[in-house]
């Protein structure tokens, strides 16, 4: 399951949705809004997307992962709109029979998301200065 949302991400419901009797573990990744990047202070962010293509690319990432690893289930949700510091912008939950695959697949999912999904982050500082963040940081 992959989707975009403008609501607060309920990552517990997301995690419960991937739990399976045949799986021994779940890895959940949460991206959260950080206040400091070097010297720059972020007051809040907005996320915008080319929504139909972003949904298509998220579904492609799910398909890639199901092909590469024997997973139980996967759920990816990315939030759009206005986010405060410490809020969750993206949640990825993956259950697998064995834990190593869950870590590898979850890390792959967030790396791919940052490469191919048309979602953009605009950063606002405390003075209202805005800048489109360009490209993935680390």
């Amino acid at each position: 399951m992959t989707r975009l949302t403008r609501d607060v991400i309920d990552y517990q419901a997301l995690t419960e949705s991937v739990l399976q009797c045949h799986c021994g573990g779940v890895v959940l990744f949460l991206g959260t809004v950080r206040d400091l990047t070097g010297d720059h202070v972020t007051a809040y962010l907005t996320y915008d997307a080319y929504a139909p293509m972003a949904e298509k690319k998220l579904a492609e990432i799910e398909a890639e992962i199901r092909q590469k690893w024997a997973i139980g289930d996967i759920a990816i949700v990315h939030r759009l709109g206005w986010l405060e510091v410490r809020e969750v912008s993206v949640a990825i939950a993956i259950s697998t029979p064995h834990r190593k695959e869950a870590f590898a697949a979850c890390q792959y999912a967030i790396e791919r998301l940052k490469q191919i999904v048309p979602i953009w982050k605009k950063d606002y500082d405390a003075h209202g200065n805005e800048i489109w963040v360009s490209g993935s940081s680390q």
Partner: protein, 83 residues
């Protein structure tokens, strides 16, 4: 043929528009689209080399040929997913 090109994020801000209409020769490719777009919307010229072009919601190389029914978008460097 007439094509509508959609803008997002930095491209939208620079163009001060959600989209632009371009007139290209029938069967023109993505390379020709990029050139026509730089000419038609000079504010995008500097950003465009750093953007990908999506055709029907798929990233498209410069040699992909276009048709008038294609859904075309300028994709600035993406930055989803938090850090």
């Amino acid at each position: 043929m007439t094509l509508t090109v959609h803008f997002f994020a930095a491209a939208k801000d620079l163009a001060q528009a959600d989209w632009a209409t371009l007139h290209l020769e029938t069967g023109a490719n993505v390379h020709a689209l990029r050139q026509a777009l730089s000419a038609a919307v000079p504010a995008l010229a500097a950003l465009l080399p750093r953007c990908l072009i999506a055709v029907n919601q798929e990233f498209a190389a410069d040699d992909v040929n276009l048709t008038s029914s294609d859904e075309i978008a300028v994709i600035p460097p993406v930055s989803g997913g938090s850090l």
